[in-house]
């Protein structure tokens, strides 16, 4: 479904990686590994179309990506919190959904936040939450935004053991539903059966 052929990326004059190839089908996930500065984040950003690629080809359902169709089925969670500090978790979730053109009722948003362990925090400004809780607000989007492919950069950072476990369960459920995932992480992930790519 997703196939990457001979991808090369550079930062300035320095080639970060070249000739990266892999393909993923439904229910498969890829664990991108590598030391700091190896280009994991750049690979993920190139994959979703945020960073320029030097060479190579990415295709999604047989069509050259990143395309509009690809973006519609993609959920990318990067390094950044991507939540607004002045707004409450509930507002963040609902406004993000409406910007994406999705209708999300208050009840659905609240259920997602409760699932992420943010019960009682939904009406506080995100500013007063801890780093891990901010991350959970972002991760709640996994529950509210339907997507076929999840691309997550260091998604397990700043999370406590329970949240790591929960995120692992979410990824597994996503794969069981026929989804795909590309993850980077330095720590062992609570998701088995993934393919590995070392940069």
């Amino acid at each position: 479904m997703l196939s990457v052929h001979h991808l090369s990326c550079a930062r300035g004059d320095r080639t970060l990686f070249s000739g990266v190839s892999f393909s993923l089908a439904e229910r498969e996930w890829l664990h991108v590994k590598g030391s700091n500065g190896a280009g994991k984040t750049t690979l993920l950003r190139a994959l979703v179309g945020l960073a320029p690629q030097q060479e190579g080809e990415i295709t999604w359902r047989g069509e050259v990506a990143p395309s509009d169709n690809f973006r519609r089925e993609l959920l990318y969670l990067g390094h950044h919190a991507a939540v607004k500090e002045e707004l409450t978790p509930l507002e963040n979730l609902r406004l993000a959904a409406s910007v994406d053109g999705l209708a999300l009722s208050e009840r659905e948003a609240l259920a997602a936040l409760i699932r992420m362990g943010l019960r009682g925090r939904e009406a506080l400004p995100v500013r007063v939450l801890s780093a891990g809780q901010k991350r959970r607000v972002l991760l709640a989007r996994l529950l509210t935004r339907p997507a076929k492919i999840w691309v997550m950069d260091e998604a397990f950072n700043a999370l406590d053991a329970a949240a790591v476990q929960l995120l692992g369960e979410l990824v597994l459920a996503h794969l069981d539903n026929g989804g795909l995932a590309v993850l980077t992480s330095h720590q062992p992930l609570p998701v088995s059966g993934g393919r590995e790519l070392v940069l």
């Binding site: 993609l74 950044h80 607004k84 002045e86 409406s98």
Partner: protein, 222 residues
């Protein structure tokens, strides 16, 4: 179109939570406009003569004050990335942000202008022309400013660069905006000035979101 409203609503809510940023630019506008009558002294003829120019220059500078923040927060916290990857077209989301920017920092200037114009002894009908000219001109300032804000995004010392980039582009709006009021005071026809302002606004409405989107994509690549 829903994407435009959704984005505008989000930015308006954010502006409501960060009132100080908005109020700073408005107070700046009020104070700059009030300094001129105080500094020049009570000579009604001279004040009437300089009023359109002073009010327009102050509006330009007040708009410029808030421009660097137009995309900076979204860029910093990663929301801009999410916007670029959203199923909604980035161009429409950018249009929504520009709309919110105008509602928050352009429209209040239009509403304040007649009050400040009284300090310059402008006649009521001249104040009317001033408000109409600003109503056509301030969206133009937001649209052109958005291109500059996107181009200087993530650049160190971007604020000064932004001023150098955007102020020359504001010159036509200034000439025809202030010119309309001056023409009216001099008893001449001002419809031509409005037509030109309107034409510039129409062109900017079409091109500015597109150019801003292109600049934002470049900023995201680095």
């Amino acid at each position: 179109m829903n994407a435009v409203w959704a984005m505008a609503r989000r930015d308006l809510l954010l502006a409501l939570r960060r009132k100080s940023e908005v109020l700073t630019a408005l107070f700046f506008f009020v104070i700059v406009c009030s300094l001129f009558p105080l500094g020049i002294g009570p000579e009604p003829a001279l004040l009437r003569k300089i009023a359109p120019g002073v009010l327009w220059v102050a509006a330009l500078l007040a708009t410029l004050l808030g421009l660097p923040r137009m995309f900076a927060a979204d860029h910093q916290d990663g929301t801009l990335e999410q916007m670029a990857l959203s199923p909604s077209p980035l161009g429409l989301l950018v249009a929504g942000k520009i709309l919110a920017h105008w509602l928050v920092s352009g429209l209040p200037l239009v509403l304040l202008a007649p009050v400040l114009g009284i300090q310059f002894d402008l006649a009521p009908d001249a104040l009317g022309v001033l408000v109409l000219a600003l109503l056509l001109g301030t969206p133009l300032l937001s649209l052109i400013g958005a291109i500059g804000a996107a181009l200087t995004l993530g650049v160190r010392g971007g604020g000064v660069l932004l001023a150098l980039l955007v102020l020359p582009l504001y010159v036509p709006a200034l000439i025809f905006g202030a010119g309309a009021v001056e023409a009216h005071i001099a008893g001449l026809a001002f419809a031509g000035h409005f037509s030109l302002l309107g034409a510039m606004l129409a062109v900017a409405l079409f091109f500015a979101p597109w150019a801003t989107t292109a600049a934002l994509r470049i900023a995201l690549e680095s």
